[in-house]
């Protein structure tokens, strides 16, 4: 199989995923209907990315062949899609939701920066502990749970920074510290994986080559097991950091921007 054939053929249109995404879009459009606020492009592109992360060759590669592909998938699920969703949620919708006492109580607990940080970063670190990660690779149910938990804790993590109701967001300097410490944690994990000897996730050492693309991956792409783990670590480290950095800079810019108006 060539790279081209792989990219064309290895799509797995799992009905539950497709229907789930479609349902998300419908619900979003219906609820948003009256609101006319919140950026639909960002919500829709978030959902599109979700579909991509779960049905594209990225998923196939990440499941069996490449740790680095799996990292990209997690990166999308925890760090890219949730902020896009939050940016796309209209303020009025969030306010309406928060008027529900039960939701309000949950939000009150989970949106505490400490709780949100612990959940978001803890999930990121926890799922990469070799034992848990390997278990998720071995069991489909656990794997689905892993992905859902990334989405949920990702949303919880970004909530205090990007909450659709700006008054509920953290103070800017606090937010910078929040993102910075999260970035340091992910960097350490990434750096650790980069410099560790290969084999932290043994399933990727000798993948079960059902698609017959192992030669392609190993030789043509040059991703042997060592390079693969290194690349995975580096992706978590540098582009991961870049997402947090973007958050930090956006917060700082908004803070300085607000200065002019408030005086």
């Amino acid at each position: 199989m060539t790279t081209r054939e792989l990219l064309l053929s290895a799509w797995d249109w799992e009905p539950s995923v497709v229907i789930g995404c479609a349902a998300l879009v419908v619900v979003y459009l219906v609820l948003r209907g009256a609101a006319r606020k919140g950026c639909p492009t960002s919500f829709l592109s978030g959902t599109l990315l979700l579909l991509f992360a779960l049905v594209s060759p990225l998923d196939t590669l990440g499941d069996t062949y490449l740790f680095s592909a799996h990292v990209v998938q997690h990166f999308l699920l925890a760090l890219i899609i949730p902020p896009l969703w939050l940016l796309g949620t209209p303020r009025s919708l969030a306010e309406a939701a928060l008027r529900q006492p039960s939701l309000r109580r949950i939000e009150h607990v989970l949106a505490q920066p400490l709780a949100a940080w612990t959940l978001g970063v803890g999930m990121m670190l926890g799922w990469h502990v070799p034992a848990l990660f390997n278990a998720a690779l071995a069991s489909d149910g656990l794997h689905i749970f892993q992905h859902v938990s990334f989405l949920i804790t990702g949303t919880i993590f970004w909530w205090p920074v990007l909450c659709p109701v700006p008054e509920r967001r953290m103070a800017p300097l606090q937010a910078i510290g929040y993102l910075f410490s999260a970035c340091v944690s992910c960097s350490l994990l990434g750096a650790g994986l980069t410099f560790m000897p290969p084999g932290a996730y043994p399933a990727y050492l000798n993948p079960d080559d059902q698609l017959g693309i192992l030669k392609l991956v190993r030789n043509d792409w040059g991703l042997d097991a060592k390079t693969d783990q290194q690349l995975g670590g580096l992706l978590m480290w540098v582009p991961g950091c870049f997402v947090y950095l973007t958050g930090i800079l956006a917060t700082a810019a908004r803070w300085y921007g607000a200065a002019g108006q408030e005086a």
């Binding site: 480290w237 950091c241 870049f242 810019a253 803070w255 300085y256 002019g260 005086a263």
Partner: protein, 541 residues
């Protein structure tokens, strides 16, 4: 209280805890070592003025470039920048001193001690000669048996401790001693950058300390961290050194950015363009500077994937740097530019630093690095940043703040001589070194064969260095002449806007009789222009 007995000037200076006197001590120390480091550079340029010369023995030449690099970085630029900071930060935030005056004095004396220890190596069997980044295993006992490298490591440990002390003091001063109304968002950019820079120092210096402790363990206790014969790793030294070393480059250049951000607006008669972006890009630089160190190691067989990720980060850091340069240039546009010597240096900084920044970007393009790293192209690049960037900003800062520090203006005609000789000499010296690199001349060679063009280009470089050296002497002469005979400056000779110009020149021990109200980023503008204060428009902060 009975009047204190009169004390001799020497005792006053030795025991001072006044931030202004300590700042001056730092700056004078930097000036002294600037002359020393300059003489070392001159010795090297003399040796290289023709092929196969025997003016310096090879080992002497190696000591010269090691000491030149170490001196200029740790004993000139660092003390000069800390000195300016220690002098100016309390004045700029409207405080009467640093948060911990005694700690401040300790920081200075530790720094001086580090310098003395480093130079004591000359008396103890030879200065260090393994280069300013002292790559292991060359710097290990079997290959550098004499004590020079031990003095180097110990001296650097002290200098690093001095920097950490100063950084702690800066953070606390800026966090707790600001005048009423001086919010974080109204900090003068020099102070804001000093704050970010201090955190950078606190995070980067320990990597150097750890590396030095490990090197000393190897050298003195026969440990094996960097010794490949016993399983140690020379690459580990490179990682550790550059995890410190690349942030260090930004530690050196950020305060220079801060000075430029103060000087260009005042002489353009306009507030800085895009304050928020200049401030935020500082954060971005500080942050990214920890993810780019591997670009010093691209020639090592580290693997293509590994290298390319760091190449990407190294390229990214060019973006916030570019934002800064463009904002300074945009500050000029629409201004009413006064070309004092300070402003001349600041404008020259913009151009020279842009050259240095672009040649630096070349090294993020990995294949170019594979050709040109460790050649004279690097030497040219780093001097465009270190001299064309940092030193030009320091000259500009000296001309700008000398009146505040001494009460006298620096002589402007001498300043013009100073400026033009330095600019011409600098570009002659270092521009041709780009070409020497392309011709294949490696750095750190004590001599070279008589290949086509090598001799003539090296002669031009040496000739330029002489002009540059003379220009620097004009500066030193101007300092002392103006101190004795310079025109009185008055409190605010440049019609500037930050708080230090509201104090007397030189400021009294407690700095301010009363601190002017701070309601915007330019408190003195508001005072002078009650009809259109900044706080009534967008420049509030």
């Amino acid at each position: 209280m009975s009047p204190a007995p009169p004390r001799s000037a020497i005792r006053v200076w030795l025991s001072t805890i006044d931030h202004k006197q300590i700042g001056i001590l730092y700056m004078l120390t930097a000036l002294f070592f600037f002359v020393v480091g300059g003489l070392e550079a001159m010795a090297m340029r003399a040796q290289l003025s023709a092929p196969n010369l025997k003016f310096l023995a090879p080992e002497t030449y190696d000591q010269m470039f090691t000491m030149h690099g170490t001196t200029m970085i740790f004993l000139v630029v660092m003390p000069a920048l800390v000195g300016f900071g220690v002098y100016l930060v309390p004045l700029m935030v409207g405080a009467s001193d640093m948060a911990f005056p005694r700690l401040n004095a300790l920081g200075y004396w530790v720094t001086l001690g580090g310098g003395v220890l480093l130079y004591a190596s000359f008396l103890a069997g030879g200065a260090p000669d393994a280069g300013w980044f002292s790559y292991a295993p060359l710097s290990e006992k079997p290959f550098s048996p004499h004590a020079g490298s031990d003095y180097w490591a110990l001296g650097l440990l002290l200098l690093s401790a001095g920097s950490v002390i100063a950084a702690v003091n800066f953070v606390v001063t800026i966090a707790t001693l600001r005048a009423p109304g001086m919010t974080i968002r109204r900090l003068p950019l020099f102070v804001w950058i000093t704050l970010v820079n201090s955190v950078l120092i606190l995070a980067a210096m320990p990597a150097l300390n750890a590396a030095l402790v490990m090197l000393l363990s190897d050298r003195v206790l026969a440990a094996h961290f960097f010794d490949p014969a016993h399983g140690g790793s020379p690459i580990l030294w490179q990682h550790y050194f550059w995890i410190f070393g690349h942030p260090e480059v930004y530690i050196l250049v950020l305060p220079a950015f801060g000075m430029i951000s103060e000087i260009i607006p005042v002489f353009s008669r306009k507030p800085i363009f895009g304050y928020g972006f200049v401030a935020a890009s500082t954060l971005a630089i500080a942050f990214l500077s920890f993810g780019v160190w591997v670009h010093h190691m691209f020639a090592v067989a580290l693997g293509r994937v590994f290298i390319s990720v760091f190449a990407a980060a190294s390229m990214l850091i060019a973006v916030p740097t570019g934002i800064k340069v463009l904002n300074w240039a945009a500050t000029l546009v629409g201004g009413s530019i006064r070309f004092t010597t300070a402003m001349l240096f600041a404008v020259a900084f913009l151009l020279e630093f842009t050259v240095g920044g672009l040649s630096g970007l070349a090294f993020a393009v990995v294949p170019i690095d594979w050709q040109l790293t460790d050649t004279y192209f690097v030497v040219a690049h780093l001097h465009y940043v270190a001299f064309g960037g940092i030193a030009f900003a320091l000259f500009a800062g000296a001309y700008y703040w000398f009146p505040k520090i001494t009460g006298h203006l620096l002589n402007e005609p001498l300043g013009r001589w100073n400026f033009w000789m330095v600019v011409i000499g600098f570009n002659l010296t270092f521009f041709v070194q780009h070409i020497l690199g392309l011709l294949g001349m490696p750095r750190r060679v004590y001599t070279y064969p008589d290949l086509p063009w090598w001799a003539v280009l090296n002669q031009i470089s040496t000739f330029g260095a002489v002009i540059l050296g003379l220009g620097a002497l004009v500066f030193v002469a101007n300092l002392f002449a103006s101190l004795a005979f310079g025109a009185r400056a008055g409190n605010d000779p440049w019609d500037a806007w930050t708080l230090e110009w509201a104090a007397a020149s030189p400021p009294p021990t407690d700095n301010f009789e009363h601190v002017p109200p701070v309601r915007s980023r330019r408190p003195l503008w508001d005072l002078k222009h009650p009809e259109a204060p900044d706080w009534a428009t967008r420049g509030g902060g």
